[in-house]
Amino acid sequence: MRTQSRAVTVGRLPDLRWRPVEIVFWAAAVAAFFLFPRYLVLGSQILITGLFAVSLDLILGYAGVVSLGQAAMFGGGAYTAGLLATHGWSEPISGLLAAAAVGAGIAFATSFLVLRGGDLTRLIVTLGIGLMLYELANQAATITGGVDGLSDMVVGNPMGLFAFDLAGRTAYAYSLAVLFAVFCLCRRVVRSPFGLSLRGIRDRPERMSALGAPVRRRLTAVYTLAGAVAGLAGALLAQTTQFVGLEVLGFSRSAELLIMLVLGGTGLLYGGLVGAAVFMIAQHFLSGVNPVYWQFWLGLLLVLAVFFTPGGILGTLASTWYRRRRPR
C-alpha cells in the first residue's frame, strides 16, 4: 500500500525549495545535449511532448478533470505559430506567446462545456471538441494546408541568436529553455494556496464549496492555464520542426498523451516528463521496426498496467477517483 499521498512534498506543506532529485533531473536534461548529439531531434520532441503532458497533468493530476481533447489547444497553438511564420512573422518568442494566448482562448471558450457534467460527459465533450477542431482544420485547407499541412514556415532565430540547424541543436536548447521556464511557472502554481485548493477540488469538489471556494471558477482558471501551456507546446513543435500537420489535432495525440501521463504518474508534474521520455524513446526504437508490433505491445502494456499496478503508477489515479462514492 502506498504510504504517502503523492503531494509535491512528502508529508509537509508545499514549498518551493528545489529537491536534489529535481536538480539531477534538469542537469541530466542539459547533459543530454552534450552526450547524445545524434538524438537531439528526438530529444526536443520529448521535451515538447513533456511540456504538453504537463498541461494535461495540471487539469487531470491536480484538478481531476479528465480530458481526451487536450490536442485541441495543442493544435491551436501549433497552427497559430505556423500561420504566423508562414505569413511573414518569423520572430519565434512572440509566436510562442500568441500560441499560448490562442490555446488559452480555446480552453476558456470550451471550459463552459467541459466543466459541466461528470467524468463521462467530459470525456465525450473533450473528445468531440478535439474532433470538431480537426474537421475544421481539415475543411479550411486553404488556410491550414489541410492534409498536406503547413510547410513553408520561416522561423527566425530565437532571441536573435542561433539559427535552427538540421542537427537539432538550437531546437533542443530552445525547447529546453522554454520547457524549464514554463515548468517553473507551473511548479509555482501547483505549490501555492491556489494549487492546494485545486487538489481539494480534485478530491472532493462539494467539500470545497462547503469551504467557500468558487469551484467552477477555479477549474476554469486552471483549464485556461493548461490550454495556454498546451498551445505553447504546440507552437514549439511547429517552430522546431517547421511543419504543422493535421495530426496535431488528432485523437491519437490526445490518447497517447493520456497514456504517457498515466505511465509516468499524475499529480507530480514530473510524471508527464518522465512518461513522455519513456514512451517516446520506446516508440522510437520499437515502432520504427514495426508499427503494428508497437501498437500491440502498447495496448498490452496498458491492459497489464491496469491489472497489475493498482498500487503503483495508477495508484495515484485510483485514490484520486475513489473520492466519489457512487450512489447506487
Binding site: D119, L120, G128, L131, E135, Q139, G299, V306, L317, A318
Partner: protein, 288 residues
C-alpha cells in the same frame, strides 16, 4: 445516391439503425455496469471480419454469416467478460478507459497483422442489391433489409425485456444493482449475459455494416466517437434513448454530408454536444 429529401431521410434512418444496433450493447454496459468500454467497436469489427472472411474463404452465403458473426462476437464477449472485464467494474473511469483503449489497440494491431490493413470487401447476394420503388421513392434494397433486421431485433429485445424473467432481472439490475443483489438476483450473471448479448449484437451490426461503413482494422477507433456519442447523448442504460440519438445522428450525418458537404462532420459533433448540454443525463435517463 439519395437525390431527394425522403431518400436522404431514409438513408439516414438506415445508417442510424445500424449505429443503434452496434451501440446498444455499449449502452447497456455503461448503464448497467457503469463501465466505459472503448473497446466495444472491436466486437463489431470481429463480427465484420467473420462475415467477410466466411464469405470469401469458406464460401458461406451472406445471410448465413450473420448468425455466425453474432455468435463469434458473443463468444469473444463472454470470454473477455469472464476473465477481464468483471474484475474492473469498480475501478475508476480513467482506468476503465485505459484498459479498454489498450484492448482496442491490441485488437487493431492484431487484425492488421493477420489480415492486412486494407478494406475488406463484401459481395452482397443479388437479391439484396439494387433499388425498389416504395411510395414513389427509390430505396436501396440493402438499406431496407438493414432497417428491417434492426426493427425485428428491437422488437425481440423489447419482448425479452418486458415479457421474460430475465428481462425483468435486467431491468431491476439497471435500476439498482445493489438492491437487486439483495433481493437474490444474480447480478453477476445478469452482467455476464447482457455483456455477451451486447457484444453479439455489435458483431451482427459489424457484419451488416460492411457495405455501409466499410471494414478495415481501424474500424473500432474510427467509429468509436459515434458509438460513445449515441450512448451518452441518448442516455446510457436505456434502449429508447440511444435509438432516438442514433436516428438523429444518422439523419443529420447523411443530410449534412449531402447538403453541406464541407462542414458535414462539424455539424454532427456540434449537434451532439449541443444535445448533451441540453440533456445532461441523456435524452432518456434510466430510472435511478
Amino acid at each position: 445516391m439519395p437525390g431527394s429529401l425522403p431518400g436522404v431521410l431514409f438513408d439516414g434512418i438506415a445508417y442510424g439503425s445500424l449505429l443503434f444496433l452496434i451501440s446498444l450493447g455499449l449502452s447497456v454496459t455503461m448503464g448497467l455496469m457503469s463501465f466505459i468500454n472503448l473497446a466495444h467497436g472491436a466486437f463489431a469489427m470481429a463480427g465484420g471480419y467473420v462475415c467477410a472472411l466466411g464469405m470469401e474463404r469458406l464460401g458461406i452465403p451472406f445471410l448465413a454469416t450473420l448468425p455466425l458473426a453474432f455468435l463469434a462476437a458473443a463468444a469473444a464477449g463472454a470470454l473477455l467478460e469472464r476473465t477481464l472485464y468483471r474484475r474492473l467494474y469498480r475501478r475508476s473511469p480513467l482506468e476503465q478507459v485505459l484498459f479498454s483503449l489498450g484492448l482496442t489497440l491490441m485488437a487493431v494491431a492484431a487484425t492488421t497483422w493477420v489480415f492486412g490493413p486494407g478494406h475488406q470487401p463484401v459481395r452482397l447476394p443479388g437479391f439484396l442489391l439494387g433499388q425498389v420503388r416504395v411510395l414513389g421513392i427509390d430505396l436501396g434494397v440493402y438499406r431496407l433489409f438493414l432497417v428491417g433486421v434492426v426493427v425485428l431485433i428491437a422488437l425481440l429485445l423489447a419482448a425479452l425485456l418486458r415479457g421474460t424473467r430475465l428481462g425483468a432481472r435486467i431491468r431491476a439490475s439497471v435500476d439498482d444493482a445493489q438492491t437487486s443483489a439483495g433481493l437474490g438476483i444474480d447480478v453477476e450473471g445478469v452482467f455476464f449475459l447482457t455483456f455477451t448479448l451486447g457484444s453479439g449484437l455489435a458483431g451482427l451490426g459489424g457484419a451488416l455494416a460492411i457495405d455501409v461503413l466499410g471494414l478495415d482494422p481501424t474500424f473500432p477507433l474510427k467509429y468509436l466517437v459515434y458509438f460513445l456519442l449515441v450512448v451518452v447523448v441518448g442516455g446510457a442504460g436505456t434502449i429508447a434513448g440511444p435509438l432516438v440519438a442514433s436516428l438523429v445522428l444518422g439523419v443529420f450525418d447523411v443530410a449534412g454530408k449531402y447538403y453541406v458537404p464541407g462542414i458535414g462532420a462539424f455539424v454532427i459533433y456540434g449537434l451532439m454536444i449541443a444535445l448533451l448540454l441540453l440533456f445532461p443525463g441523456g435524452l432518456r435517463r434510466s430510472a435511478r
